[in-house]
Amino acid sequence: MSFLCRSCGAAGLDEGAPCCLVPRRITHPELETLTLAHIDCDAFFAAIEKRDDPSLVAKPVIVGGGERGVVATACYVARAYGVRSAMPMVRALALCPTAVVKKPDLARYRAEGRMIRAMMETLTPQVQAVSIDEAYLDLAGCEALHGASAAAVLSRLQNRIEEERGLTVSVGLSHNKLLAKLASEADKPRGFAIIGRSEALAFLAERPLNALPGVGPAAVKALERAGFATVSALQSAEPTALGKALGERGLRLQAMALGRDERIVAPESGRKSLSSETTLPQDVAEKEALEDQLWLLCERISSRARAEQTAGRVVTLTLKDARFRVRTRQRTMSQATLLARRLFEESRQLLAAEADGRTRFRLIGLGLSDFATAAEADRGDLVDHETPKRAAAEAAIAEVRNRFGAAAMDTGRALKVRRRAKPGDSA
């Protein structure tokens, strides 16, 4: 059977002879032929924090927002205490009181994600990023170019990321996206798992139902009620019976259970929206206070839009109330914008219709979409002579911040909010 040594890169037929001092060998009958991979960074945010502050290496680290926020990422030490992503911070700290909590620095993580993606893109143009820290790669047809199998190329990439970026990733290799993703989850962290055509059914049969993408607690319940308590039950289900019990969805689930997935790796066609949100330290009902938070979001989106020289025509406001009900409100502007001031003017009107002074909100978010180029934005019109002036002013502020740092210049409102948010303040 073919083998590949993840340590030294040796490959060939496994005849028992050693290849290096610390061999990490993978053997698989389809090692040479599988080309579709899913790569996922291990505890990405936490790993970056540990890399950049070695004193944290042995400590449980949780990356997440404020007292009221949720866990974005927990390192493997913290996970040993039972801490999981998306868990409320209070709960996480109860489980792991010694944890070091880091506020997420998304700009830094995003930059790191981009560097890793750039490494992937040197191997194949078929790279589809699905989030900041995971991507699908299709290496079909690249074997001759690299003079090695896809598995060998991926193993090299994994080592290179570890050496150059100080971060570990897990690789899943298979023949479709579904199985590649399941494979990368199967051997984490720093793993390399292969699911071949011959073993896909057996592999899936052993998984719990919620291992299938899109199957959460509610879907598990529905499946159990319909008499399909395991993946293998789904595999052998009579399609008509399944269709009757669960409709179209049941048939899609069965296709997944059988390891069928026709989706192709589609390199990203460009971002479609910019968004940012804040979970408030306490639930807020007062419109003024919500507007203050909204202003910070507008500034954040504006500065990201400026960095990418893009602008948008559609503003979307998201609010989550104290009972976790989400409302989104949208408005299309007559002209695209990237200005914080215009974003604010539009979104505060959306907010005014929702903030009745009684409903308490726990989260506020803002999105900008339907992109246009920065050159097309904020040009004013027959009766709007203010926007071009405002555009010049905000461009000047951005320039000052570029040169002297973000704190060099601030608006009164932002200053007020930031002061109030300082720890120890009684607000």
Partner: protein
Amino acid sequence: MRLTIERAALFKALSHVQSVVERRNTIPILSNVLLTADPDRLRLSATDLDIEICEGVAAEVSRPGATSAPAQYLHDFVRKLPENAPVELEVKDGDQRLFLRGGAARLHLPVLPAADFPTMPTDGFENRFLIHPTELKRLLDKTRFAISTEETRYYLNGIFVHTVKGETGDMMLRAVATDGHRLALAEASAPDGSTGMPGVIIPRKTITELRRLLDDAADSVEIAVSPQKIRFAINDALVTSKLIDGSFPEYARVIPRGNPRELRVTNSLFLEAVDRVATVSAERSRSLRMALRDGALTLTVNNPDAGVATEDLACEYDQEAMEIGFNARYLMDVAGQIEGETAIFAFSDSGSPTLVRDDADPHALYVLMPLRV
């Protein structure tokens, strides 16, 4: 309340008032029409709290009274009644229902007390004047297409009407609408009593309602203006509307004066040509390029997703050659309002507002913001 009324007259009045009734209402009584039986006529009234339309119809009233009943059902039922049948309407004392009989058809509808029906106060109208319906129609039609639908600049969601001293020194009643990309202005000699009225922004929905009623208007329309409201008396109907509470922009400064490059083109041919080349224009920008040189105008729409359409037109132009882009839809809107044979364009350069005039109407003008092409 008890009365007999001609079916046709009732139906006409009902269709006039019921169109302001919103289809969905959180306040139940706003779905109703208010019926008031005076000794010799029936008054019908409906409102959405911003606009109120009230109309009186001759009726044989045997017992005066008032009630309110669902506008939509009443309207639709009366519409389906046989042509010439007289219609009886009755609310018995203490009954919560309106009884309607037309021929052999009978209808009972639930009513709500007339006293609860919201009405607009009628006070505060300081300026009153008469205007001929044709003149009012002209002012509205030549400007309403430019009304903005943008929610943020709510003060552009209507037509700004005010009096101003015209170029000849006479007082003019002027209507202006703009959405920021185009502006339309039309004026008429100021009717007696209009001078000094406050400048008012009449909301789009009011314009639509008004415009429907104006088609049947026979006599002069009386307009009464207060700083918050406007009222139109058209035949037997009374339209009262709130005004948009905002200040209309200083529009005069965006009307270009002395743009040097003049183009004269046969309007009907221009409109048809724009319509033809716009067939392939992109849904969003509808961008159209006008290329001008000595005596010739070339219209081009180039849409990479669809194709390229071009048309040459003879024109009067003797200035330096230039190219300028416009939204084809906007050009057609403007050309559609020009009644004379010739449309006159005055350009400055390809980035500045362009003035368009009608050679047959010195009292209307249009401003178009060019697109980058």
